[in-house]
Each structure stands twice: as C-alpha cells, then as structure tokens.
Symmetry: D2
Subunit: 149 residues, 4 copies
C-alpha cells in the first residue's frame, strides 16, 4: 500500500492528480505511474470534441501535459512541485477512437528544468493509432506557497 | 444580419464554434470575430483547474487553439475548413483570474498553411495580465467529407 | 550502386545534401541514409560556437533540420521536394564534445505533411550524450519550379 | 560612451556578441540594442543556403536565437548570463533576399525564465518581407563558471 508512505512518488502523483479538477471534467484516469513515465487514459466523450467531432486538440494537450508533468513529479524531491513552462503539440491524426491513451516520459531530468516527451494514441479495435506528440519543458518549483504538491 | 449570408465569415465562424462541444464544456464564448482576428472569453471555473488551483494549461491551449483556428477560418474560402497541424504554448504566468481572454491573430495567411499567434490574458481588477502565448500552424482542408465547416 | 538509379532515395538525398552549401560551411557530413532515418555528423569547430564556447544552438538546429528533412525525402516520390514548415528545439545540455551526431526520424509520414523527430548527441570518450531534441513539420512540395530536388 | 561602463547592457551585449564566433561565420552584425529588444542583420551569402538556394532554416534560427538571447541579456543583472532552453521557429516564406533582419523582443521577463519572440525579415527592394517567427525560453544563469558573459 503506497498510501502509507507519503514520500513515495506514486502516492504523491496520485494525490496531486486527484487535485486536478480538470482531469475529472475530462473523465481522465491515471492508469500507470512508473519512475520517469506516466500514463493517463480517457474514454471518448462527445462533450470533448471540436467542430468535426474529433477529440479537441485542447483535450489532447491537457492530458499529454498532465502525463508529462506527472512523469516529472516522479523524478523530483518529495517537497518540490512542477509547473509547465511550455509545450509543443503535433497533431498527427484526427482524434477518433473509443478510448485514448496518453503517455509522458522524461527525456532529460534536471534540478531546475525537466524535459519530457509525450505521445497520444487512439484505441479502438486493432493496433493503437498514434494521434499526437508533445515535447515540453517543466520547471521544478521549491518554496513557493501557492505551488505545492 | 450576417445570419442570412452563409458566405460571411462571421456566420461561418459562429456556426462552427457552436459545433465545438468542448467550448461549451469549458464555458467559453466567442466574443469577437474580425478579419484575421478572433477573441474567446471564459469565466474562471474550479472544474477547469490543475493541481494548484490555476486554470489548466490544457484549457488555455484549447481556447487559444480555437481562437487561432477561427482566425484562420476568417481568411479562407467558404467551402474550406481548418485543421490544426501543431502549436506551441508558452505559459508565462499562473492562470489566476476572474475571467480569461484568448485572442488569435493571423501572422501569415496561405493557400495550404496558415500561421497564427495567440495570447491569453487573465482579467480581474486592473490591467489584463498576459498569461500565455501560442504560435500554431493550421492546414486548409478542402474536399474531405469528414472535415467540413 | 545507388549512383545509377536516380529514383533511389539514397542518391536523391546525397545529391540534395550536396547542394546545401550551409552543410559544407558547417563541416557536416551525411553519414547514414535509411528509409525514414538520416544521420549527419560534424566535428567540433571553434567557428561554430556561441559566447560560452559551446556549439551554437543555430548549428544544432541546422543539422537537426537537415537530418529531419532528409529523413522526409526518403519517404516521398522522386519528383517531390521538402520544405520545413516549423520546428522546435529543446536544448538539453551544453554543446560540448569532439564530434556531434544528429539523427532525424519520421514519426508520421503523409502526402502533404510529414512529422519528424530529431536528436543531437555529443561524442567524446564514453557514451554519446544527448544534447538536443527537435520535433518538426515538413511539407511535401510538388510542381514548384523554385523548389526542386 | 557605453564602452566605459561595464554594467551597461549595450556594452555587455556587444562584448558577448563579439564572442559568438558563429555570428562572424554567418557574417551577422549587431545593429540595434535597446532595453528588451535587439536587432541583428546579415547579407545574403551563397554559403548559407539550403538545397533550393534559400537562406538555411538553421541560419535563420541562429540569428533569431541570438537576437532573442541578447534581448534577454538587456533585462538581467550584469553578473548573470543567458542560456536558451528551447525555441520554436515557423518558416513563413522562403529565405530569399539581399539582406536579412532579425529582431528579438522580450515577451515576459523573469528572474529564472525569460520568454522572447523573434521575427525575421528579408530586405530587398520594397517593404520588408516577414520570413520567419520564433518563440523561445531563456534561462537566467548565475554562479556557473562555464557560463559567464
């Protein structure tokens, strides 16, 4: 039970993810937390679409940013926090699918800046289809009262 | 009344925006549509937040992408449509505010690729505070049945 | 012998690379051309440095852009050409080393837009050190007289 | 005479620019240094071209990065230095022209991260033509022996 060790990164990631109200709005679940890698999944929902009925680029960005940001959480000190500085998203295929998987991985850890890459996949029948990629920079935050956890 | 001229870009933008279900999920309104420039506004809502209580970067991305994309709609033929290829967002200040304004403007029109820049502002008392910037590439789509309007 | 088949992608890539005068200015060599993957190498040269004596970010960008662009050439028709639309570079470590390796790989082929990812490494003694990553969008060009080969 | 005041930002920028050997390789000159804004100019040179004879995207990136980076130098303490974390470049038109102008401007100053935007123009006869835009993040560096000035 990682619930009993607050220093454990899985616990910290799950607690912080649980405070991201927007993830609940999106219907997103944290499905995997490993050292330097986090996965988030989400079912398709018509309320998350753009004008052609595909998953909105902003939804894809939100979930990839969360996956990359929480991947960064797994490699920092327990008392530090993470803020995203910037990210770029390439939209590779329309966001069509029954479910979506978002994976964030650390490309370069660091004491101040952490760089992560993310990939989004549509899951239906057959093989997962790559629909977007992200590269982002995260800043490690310490000692700021408004940015904890 | 632009409602009677389907070729009018304001009508087309409003109709397409109305089909972006995710904008309604975000509580976002289309508040200004000019040639090569679109503005979207949104009140703060706790269901749109990240773990520190700020507006989620994904919400900012969604609204900036929509503002940039619809700015692109204002400069294309009535029978064409727009898909975002990629964007980058720089998060400049935490998303704190009572309301938020997202402006997209065309930097470079084109027959195939349109480049747009966006800026997001927090509105409370006092001057608008710049919280994010976006640069994105949009592709003009013609003749695809699944990408119209 | 690919020299005798002008439709061969290796020949086309080498011929086009040979016309990139800037690659000669940088002292860059095309060292590997595979389907969807190209590598370029370059020795350190003091004339390529920024103010702290590291390899200039612009040099890294030039070589990664060339590696990504030529990776795109390997997946297009012989009579098409490639122009870069955009790229983002994350600078992960200072550009210190005796030699540098730049690899570009296709993430998403396409008839109009090709997305590629690149990685730059410093080579000295010991393992290659990742110094930069790129993600970029390339446009496939056909029928434009000023953009051939 | 700013040459006599080493704390003056114009002096520091000129001295640091003078140490960027790659700027000399490109034939680039520092033509304007204002608070939060720097301009660099460069004549067209066939040795700086890509395969179609246009200015190489890497040259454009190098000069925009330098313009943005030195714009950041103008807003930091005299004993601090700047390293680029990341940038994105959108290539808007082919790099054709007799001369090129690169302007970097600070979008968001900061004690750790500075965000700058840049624009590149081709200058021939007639109005300047916008050929590229950049957005980049710079990190303020203090107390590192290998990164000074």
């Amino acid at each position: 039970m990682d619930e009993v060790d607050p220093g454990d990164f899985r616990t910290r990631v799950r607690q912080s993810f649980g405070r991201q109200a927007f993830m609940e709005t999106l219907g997103a679940d944290l499905t995997r937390v490993e050292h330097a890698m986090v996965e988030i999944e989400m079912p398709f929902d018509a309320k998350l679409t753009q004008q052609h009925g595909f998953l909105h680029a902003g939804v894809i960005s939100a979930a990839l940013d969360a996956a990359c940001g929480y991947a960064a959480y797994t490699v920092i000190d327990p008392d530090a926090s993470i803020l995203t500085i910037e990210f770029k998203v390439n939209l590779l295929s329309p966001g069509r699918g029954e479910r979506f998987l978002f994976r964030g991985e650390i490309t370069k850890p660091g004491s101040t800046i952490i760089v992560a890459d993310g990939r989004a996949y549509a899951l239906t029948n057959g093989p997962a289809k790559l629909i977007a990629s992200m590269s982002g920079s995260m800043m490690v935050i310490r000692g700021r009262e408004d940015v904890t956890g």
